[in-house]
């Protein structure tokens, strides 16, 4: 219904090798969608196709319910925000001057620069020259420039890979706020914890194929084993089945008032990834 992106059996071939073998998914308006996979799995290629920088070899791609030729139009560009893995800045200009160029290109009000810089916590640094900034600060300037025009759909290609935990946290907060104001986010990462805290829905990509897709909760449930861990007051730890077979054990412990803590054995997203692909995520 309110889908912003719809991809059906997408394939992309570079020379003789397929970077994307069979990719299908939909993203609804208002989602933060995480695209997870090790490097070389096809994340950047997917973003490039979804933003009109590469043409697909096969398959059907719709963005804003339109064919991808629409992506090249100024109307589409006005609605998209793209932070690619190699975006650049003008080194000899200040942070503010860099954003000011794009403010004029997008035809925005003057206060948009301030708003955007406050968003990434850089407003007080606005007079600093880009060539004096740390990698993390540059990354935040790039993000500020990408969201300057409050895009309807935001593509972020590994946006936090150069950031320390504190800055990551700031960016997460900001992205949630932006998302609450109506921006749909498509994010690639190989950071499982990031996907877990930030994304409503996740797709695992491996060798150009989606091998699992769902909310973090669904995925964990789907791949959870059927056991519970019970910690007893005497310090003992027992793993029992959720089913009827171990019901008596549990009953017994509870009757003797021995139970300290019960927890489900949910796998982390990283563990699920290894389980699904037989491959570690690095």
């Amino acid at each position: 219904m309110g889908e912003v992106i719809k991809v059906n059996h997408l394939q992309k071939k570079f020379k003789s090798e397929y970077a994307l073998q069979d990719v299908s998914f939909e993203i609804e308006k208002g989602e933060i969608f995480g695209f997870l996979g090790p490097s070389g799995s096809g994340k950047t290629t997917t973003i490039k196709i979804l933003t009109g920088q590469l043409s697909p070899t096969n398959g059907d791609v719709k963005v804003f319910k339109q064919d991808i030729s629409f992506l090249k139009s100024p109307e589409a560009r006005q609605r998209l925000g793209i932070l690619s893995d190699n975006s650049g800045l003008y080194d000899r200009l200040t942070i503010e001057e860099n954003l000011d160029l794009y403010r004029k290109i997008y035809n925005l009000k003057e206060n948009s620069v301030k708003k955007s810089l406050e968003f990434v916590n850089l407003y007080s640094d606005r007079k600093k020259h880009i060539n004096k900034l740390s990698k993390g600060m540059r990354q935040r300037v790039l993000l500020a420039r990408t969201i300057l025009h409050q895009p309807d759909l935001l593509f972020l290609d590994e946006p936090t890979s150069a950031l320390d935990p504190v800055n990551k946290f700031h960016i997460y907060e900001g992205l949630r706020r932006l998302n609450a104001e109506g921006t749909t986010v498509f994010l690639t990462t190989h950071d499982m914890a990031e996907a877990d805290t930030l994304c409503n829905r996740i797709a695992f990509l491996n060798n150009g194929k989606i091998c699992a897709i769902g909310t973090p909760k669904e995925l964990k449930k789907q791949y959870a084993d059927d056991t519970l861990t019970v910690e007893l007051k005497n310090g003992q730890q027992e793993t029992i089945s959720k089913g009827a077979t171990d019901a008596n054990k549990m009953f017994d412990w509870m009757q003797k008032n021995l139970v300290e803590r019960v927890s489900t054995n949910e796998p982390s997203l990283g563990e699920i990834f290894v389980q699904v692909t037989g491959r570690k995520l690095v």
Binding site: T51, E75, R77, G88, R92, L93, D100, K104, I105, R145
Partner: protein, 237 residues
């Protein structure tokens, strides 16, 4: 075509700030002026000498500076961001040419004042200079899109410098080496031919060949530039 002046102006202002803070490139604008000053001191007043300084301005200012401006945007991955913005191809390419155009006109005026060149027909020569500026800037854009780095720009501009600025002077050897006949067709040679015919009683027919050829060169280079630009947009850089 719907061109946004605001966007092109924004690129111009940005380019000016970057250019003025980059002495390595911005100092090259002095070279043609120094050469013009040198010739004016020698007190030679021939078309050939005047055009030495003028063609130097075209290759060192129009082509070289434009090539550096474009190559730097490519090297730093900022061109792609412009391409992905709502700015259209003409807005980006014209916006990116405006600073070089203004500087070229200023330096050209400066060199002409210094050498004391007084054209046979000022209005016609101004039009020819404006057209030539467009030609050399477009060549600069094309080379900038081909060059991978700013360093490479200085190398890639050399053939243009020799062909277009020094080339016309080789026409003296045409008798001996018939290959050099092609030099006749260069826009720089055509500019000198035009200037020479303006010195005497000229007919309107004399204008057709130089203006026709210079315009043809502009069209060819512009088409090549748009092709290379679109390729760059597609290519994974």
């Amino acid at each position: 075509m719907n061109l946004s002046m605001k966007r092109m102006q924004a690129i111009l202002v940005k380019d000016y700030k970057e250019f003025s803070r980059n002495l390595a490139v911005s100092s090259t604008i002095l070279v043609p002026l120094v050469i013009a000053l040198f010739y004016s001191r020698m007190g030679i007043d021939t078309i050939q000498v005047h055009f030495m300084a003028i063609n130097m301005t075209f290759s060192l200012v129009a082509t070289y500076i434009q090539c550096c401006l474009i190559a730097e945007e490519k090297e730093k991955n900022t061109l792609r961001n412009l391409m992905l913005s709502p700015a259209t191809i003409p807005e980006i390419l014209i916006g990116k040419s405006m600073l070089t155009f203004i500087i070229t006109i200023l330096i050209l005026t400066g060199s002409i004042l210094l050498t004391g060149y007084n054209p046979g027909n000022t209005l016609i020569m101004i039009i020819a200079f404006l057209l030539s500026s467009i030609f050399y800037i477009t060549i600069g854009t094309l080379l900038g899109l081909i060059a991978k780095t700013v360093m490479e720009s200085s190398v890639i501009v050399m053939p243009v410098f020799f062909l277009f600025s020094i080339g016309p002077f080789a026409s003296a050897f045409v008798e001996k080496y018939p290959v050099l006949k092609v030099i006749e067709w260069l826009p720089s040679t055509q500019l000198i031919n035009l200037a020479e015919s303006l010195e005497n009683n000229f007919k309107v027919g004399d204008l057709v060949q130089p203006f026709g050829l210079i315009s043809l060169w502009i069209i060819i280079v512009m088409i090549l530039t748009v092709i290379v630009y679109n390729k760059r947009m597609k290519d994974d850089i």
